[in-house]
């Protein structure tokens, strides 16, 4: 089966500035991929090329096997921009109706009400966009992106304006989407969120993919911590397999042991390591 998104050697230059430099990225069917990177790393540029809003300087991008930017590719994707805005004079339901028409979706009123319920806006279907909070607009944006049941969702910072409860709703929504087989490319600064929900992560810095893999692959062993009567003792180079030996040696040495923890670096540690944050 064709990948939901396939980018090969994707480059984008703005004059002398290189926003993307030969980026390869693939999002498989039903896969949830997190895109991480500092501001200006090229994440949004990559997403916009996939949407056909920005033309690449080199390389290729395909959405569901169709060239990015083509009507066929647009039929297969849903998109929520980081800095989006919807006409403030439309109601939530009218906005979805407009996008249903443009997306050639035959879902009708049922699809609109399902999507609004899904993002927690079922009660305010008739409210004007201009009268909604930024968080509500962001949830409406996610509903808008899901019109027509696209194969690929491109979400650029979808939780930036949401409170913790709203973020949890979106996280649960992403889980639902994965169970439905929808592929998602999630561009976010919230590392813990990405770590929680994503199957794979790609970290971009200075226009290049500097790390990619599952969260488990990216995080690595950070040693062993043993809690003893004299405090926590750290074995920075030790691995999980060495825990029985370490415990035995400490007990033989007369230490009293209260707990043992195998330390793994978090995605945040990996991120800071590869983007040069420390």
């Amino acid at each position: 089966m064709t990948a939901a998104l396939s980018a090969r050697g994707l480059s984008k230059r703005y004059g002398a500035t290189t926003a993307l430099d030969a980026v390869d990225l693939e999002v498989g069917e039903g896969e949830l991929v997190g895109l991480l990177g500092p501001n200006g790393a090229g994440k949004s540029t990559l997403v916009k090329i996939a949407c056909g809003l920005v033309r690449p300087s080199g390389g290729t991008a395909f959405v569901a096997g169709e060239p990015a930017g083509s009507p066929a590719a647009h039929r297969a994707l849903g998109y929520l921009a980081e800095l989006f805005r919807f006409p403030d004079w439309l109601s939530a339901s009218e906005l979805l109706e407009l996008h249903q028409k443009l997306a050639e979706s035959g879902g009708g009123a049922r699809e609109r009400s399902e999507l609004l319920e899904l993002v927690g806006l079922g009660e305010v279907a008739g409210r004007r966009v201009g009268a909604m909070s930024k968080g509500m607009q962001q949830r409406l944006g996610i509903a808008q992106a899901m019109i027509g049941a696209p194969r690929l969702l491109l979400l650029d910072e979808p939780t930036s304006a949401l409170d913790p409860a709203g973020r949890r709703t979106v996280r649960e929504l992403l889980e639902t989407l994965r169970s439905r087989g929808v592929a998602v490319l999630l561009n976010s600064h919230l590392l813990s969120e990405v770590e929680l929900v994503c199957d794979r992560v790609a970290i971009i810095a200075r226009g290049e993919v500097v790390a990619a893999g599952t969260p488990a692959e990216l995080s690595h062993a950070g040693g062993v911590e043993v809690e003893t009567a004299r405090g926590v003792r750290q074995f920075a180079q030790a691995t999980r397999e060495e825990v029985p030996r370490i415990v035995r040696e400490l007990v033989d040495a007369g230490e009293e042991i209260y707990g043992v923890r195998v330390v793994r670096s978090s995605l945040e540690d990996v991120y800071l390591e590869v983007v040069g944050g420390r």
Partner: protein
């Protein structure tokens, strides 16, 4: 084409919701009221229908008044054309309104066609209605009909459609304010061309007349306006014809039967240029 109508419908609905048409309708009623008042006073103060040294004063007064109204109609149509399109592309892209629409199965050409349709339908209908209302008011107070009614209405409509195309094309490359200023400057340049033609005729200067003619072809909304002016007295002859000076800036001129097809080709050419530029534009 279906998507172009969806975009057009969306643009029109925005104008309705934002009460654009209510404001325009109210101001137009005020304009037509003032025109009616002026026409009533003008016909009251001249000895209409009487020949004064071979000049039919009813025709002169009616044509001059309707000519002035046609200028105002085109001006109001130009305002409508500019404000319905000035931020259609770059302005909406900068505000983040355009991107969610363009990631749908909607080509950029279809989007431009939809925005053109919406603005052109409104502006064309507007100038035709206001022109016909002016004709009726002129007849009501002066009992005078122009020599032809449909042709000048269509030519004014064509002129405003050209302005819509220019303003929409401008919105691809210019920010909203800059685009609005640019289109009104072009409109002013067209009027100046008409004025130069008048001066050229008065001084018998072929250079000025040629500059005016060429400028009017470059900005065909002006040529269409001048031809529309000429059409309202196209069958009037003799001293009466000589006594008529139409329009506040430019005289009535004819540009021949090629003007209509040329204006259509001009709009298509402007549209093609706008699309070429739009397709190369990154929407960040």
């Amino acid at each position: 084409m279906r998507n172009a109508w969806i975009v057009a419908g969306f643009a029109l609905r925005e104008s309705v919701r934002r009460r654009v048409f209510v404001v325009v309708a109210l101001l137009t009623v005020v304009f037509l009221g003032l025109y009616g008042l002026g026409t009533w006073q003008a016909f009251k103060s001249v000895q209409v229908g009487e020949l004064d040294q071979g000049v039919d004063t009813r025709i002169v007064a009616g044509a001059i008044l309707l000519g002035l109204s046609m200028f105002a109609t085109l001006f109001l149509g130009a305002i409508l054309a500019v404000f319905l399109t000035l931020g259609a592309v770059r302005g909406d892209a900068e505000r983040g309104l355009l991107q969610p629409l363009l990631v749908r199965p909607l080509t950029r050409g279809t989007f431009l066609a939809g925005r053109f349709l919406a603005a052109a339908v409104v502006c064309v209908a507007y100038v035709v209605v206001v022109f016909l209302a002016s004709v009726l008011i002129t007849h009501a107070f002066g009992h005078w009909w122009p020599d032809t009614i449909l042709l000048p209405a269509l030519e004014l409509a064509g002129g405003v459609a050209v302005l819509v195309a220019l303003a929409l094309a401008g919105s691809v490359v210019l920010a909203s304010t800059a685009n609005g200023i640019a289109i009104f400057m072009l409109f002013g340049a067209g009027l100046t061309a008409g004025l130069l033609g008048e001066i050229g005729d008065a001084l018998d200067s072929h250079t000025l007349s040629n500059v005016a003619k060429i400028s009017s072809w470059i900005l065909p909304f002006e040529a269409l306006y001048q031809q529309a002016l000429a059409a309202i007295t196209q069958d009037t002859v003799g001293f009466t014809r000589l006594a008529i000076k139409l329009g506040p800036f430019g005289g009535a001129e004819t540009f021949g039967p090629a003007l209509g097809p040329y204006a259509v080709a001009y709009v298509l050419g402007v549209g093609a240029l706008a699309l070429w530029r739009f397709r190369r534009r990154d929407l960040s």
